[in-house]
Structure formats: structure tokens, C-alpha cells
């Protein structure tokens, strides 16, 4: 049996709806917390200070050390460039 694109999308968006409803209930039950705070409260440990980007930040933020992030990302982009030049796609 082969499903058409519409059938596939029906299944996908059905799953999305189901998962979305469960997720909204879970979120309403637990309140606004960052992922680290959620982990800490779920496990009964005190939240650590090694990670950033908690729920108190109003916008997008970076977890970990930003200068190191930049350096590693630049190196990775360099590796990608070398790979692309050498092997192409």
C-alpha cells in the first residue's frame, strides 16, 4: 500500500496535534522554567551554574562559553570548506 502525499501529511499533522496537546498540558502543569531548572527540580538536585540560557532569559541565548563557541564554529566551518573543496558534493 502506498499512501499519497495527502495521507502522509494527514498522519504527520495528526501526530503533531497529539504531541502538541500532550506537551501543552505538561507545560501548563510544570510552569515556566529553563531546561536545566526542570532537570534539577525533577531529580531533586540544586541547579548548577555551568550552563546558561535558563528560563529567565527573555530571548535567544547561547549555552556554554561564547568565545569558545565562536572559535570552534569557525574551525568547523573551515573543515567544511576544506571538505567541500576536496570532495565536493
Amino acid at each position: 500500500m502506498v499512501m499519497t502525499g495527502n495521507h502522509g501529511r494527514l498522519i504527520f499533522f495528526g501526530l503533531v496535534l497529539l504531541v502538541g496537546i500532550i506537551s501543552i498540558f505538561a507545560f501548563n502543569g510544570s510552569g515556566t522554567k529553563g531546561i536545566e531548572e526542570r532537570f534539577s527540580s525533577a531529580l531533586g538536585v540544586s541547579p548548577g551554574d555551568e550552563e546558561h540560557g535558563s528560563g529567565s532569559d527573555p530571548g535567544f541565548s547561547l549555552e556554554g562559553n561564547p568565545p569558545l563557541y565562536t572559535i570552534i564554529l569557525v574551525l568547523l566551518v573551515g573543515v567544511c570548506w576544506v571538505m567541500y573543496r576536496k570532495f565536493g558534493t
Binding site: 504527520f12 506537551s23 505538561a26 507545560f27 531529580l43 528560563g55 535567544f60 547561547l62 568547523l76 570532495f87
Partner: protein, 214 residues
């Protein structure tokens, strides 16, 4: 998506070694399989490099949804690079993440296993549904949702088996708390599923050769 957000010292040394050992054993198998291949798949190597860079870049960005979450791109990695390269990519991403202070070094092994489960399940579902669901967007979206759901289950399983040092919560309380985290994670998995579906559909339209055999 699923990621054990705990500091070093949360797992006992025995379990740190167990998860690291399991991850390294899988990596050894992956490297053996790659080295024993008659001809290196150069196209896949380039895709793997791009996936590693993209995964590292996205993994560190906290998105202000549900108090702050991040994407992993693990299902996309599985679909584009396959499970063998996928394992190496998630290991490298976890190592680099620990290096910049996102996650503990002792948890790299466990997190690699969690992310690998997402890679391998998404790859498998995408592959299995090839004849059943020809629409790339839907197939990639379904594979992503199921892959991330399995990843959350593996994450819960690893934490439950390992136990957390120095906590007084009962296993039932821990399981309940982690289930809530998994349910919220799955809400964000919807975003990842939509994004993965769009990317795979776009690649399928512009460069179908990159999805050959997938």
C-alpha cells in the same frame, strides 16, 4: 532534542564509565565499518562535516520556548548522513559542547547514546517508510517525531538506571519529573519535525542525489 542536562558528578563513576564505554564500543564498530568499506563515500563525508558544524551551531542556542530549549538536528543527521556517520557526528558534537561548558564531560557517553538513538531511529523510520509514504516532508517529519520520542525514552531510561548521586527523590518521583520534561521536549520536537521535513523536502527537490538510497 533529548539531552541529559546535568553536571559532572551526577552519575556515579561506575555509570559514567559504563555509558562512556558503550559509546566508545559503538564508535569503534562504526570506525571499523567505515575503514572496511571498499571505497570511502566522499559525498557522505562532506555531508557529515556540514551536519557536524550545523549540529554544533544549533545545539548551543537556547530558544525561548517553554522556558528555554535547544534543537539537536539529530533526525536530520540520521536522514542525511546515516547511522554510522551519524554516531560520529553526535559524539563530536557532544565532545565540543562539553568543551565549551554545555553539559558535563562525564555525561558525554550517555548523551551520545541518547542522541545516537534519535539518529538511528529517525534513519530507520525514514528508510522503512520509503515505499509507504513517498512524500519527503511527511516522511521526514514522522521520522523526526518518532526518533525524538525514542531519544527521550532512552534519556529517561539512562537516568533511571544510573540513578543520581545525593538525591532523596523516589524513583517514581524522578520518573514523573523526567516524563514531564520528555512531554515538553516533544512539543519542541514539533518545530524540529517541521524544520527537518522542510529541509529534506527542499534537498529532495534541489539535490535528490543527496538522498539516494534514502
Amino acid at each position: 532534542m533529548a539531552h541529559i542536562h546535568l553536571e559532572d558528578g551526577s552519575f556515579s563513576p561506575l555509570f559514567v564509565l559504563l555509558w562512556w564505554g558503550t559509546a566508545l564500543a559503538l564508535i569503534a564498530i562504526a570506525l571499523y565499518l567505515l575503514r572496511s568499506a571498499r571505497k570511502p563515500d566522499q559525498k557522505r563525508i562532506t555531508i557529515a562535516a556540514f551536519c557536524a558544524a550545523a549540529a554544533f551551531a544549533v545545539f548551543q542556542v537556547s530558544i525561548p520556548i517553554a522556558g528555554g530549549v535547544h534543537l539537536n538536528l539529530t533526525p536530520l543527521i540520521g536522514i542525511l548522513a546515516g547511522p554510522i556517520f551519524g554516531l560520529l557526528i553526535v559524539f563530536i558534537t557532544n565532545i565540543l559542547s562539553a568543551a565549551i561548558g554545555h553539559g558535563g564531560w562525564g555525561l558525554v557517553g550517555a548523551n551520545t547514546l541518547v542522541n545516537f538513538s534519535e539518529v538511528v531511529v529517525a534513519w530507520g523510520i525514514f528508510h522503512v517508510l520509503r515505499n509507504l509514504v513517498p512524500d519527503l516532508f511527511s516522511r521526514a517529519g514522522i521520522a523526526t517525531l518518532i526518533g525524538l520520542m525514542v531519544g527521550n525514552c532512552v534519556m529517561i531510561g539512562i537516568v533511571m538506571v544510573s540513578g543520581i548521586q545525593g538525591v532523596n527523590q523516589s524513583p517514581e518521583q524522578v520518573l514523573f519529573g523526567l516524563s514531564i520534561i520528555a512531554a515538553i521536549n516533544m512539543g519542541v520536537a514539533i518545530i524540529e519535525a517541521l524544520m527537518t521535513g522542510l529541509v529534506v523536502a527542499y534537498i529532495g527537490k534541489m539535490r535528490p542525489d543527496l538522498l539516494e538510497g534514502r
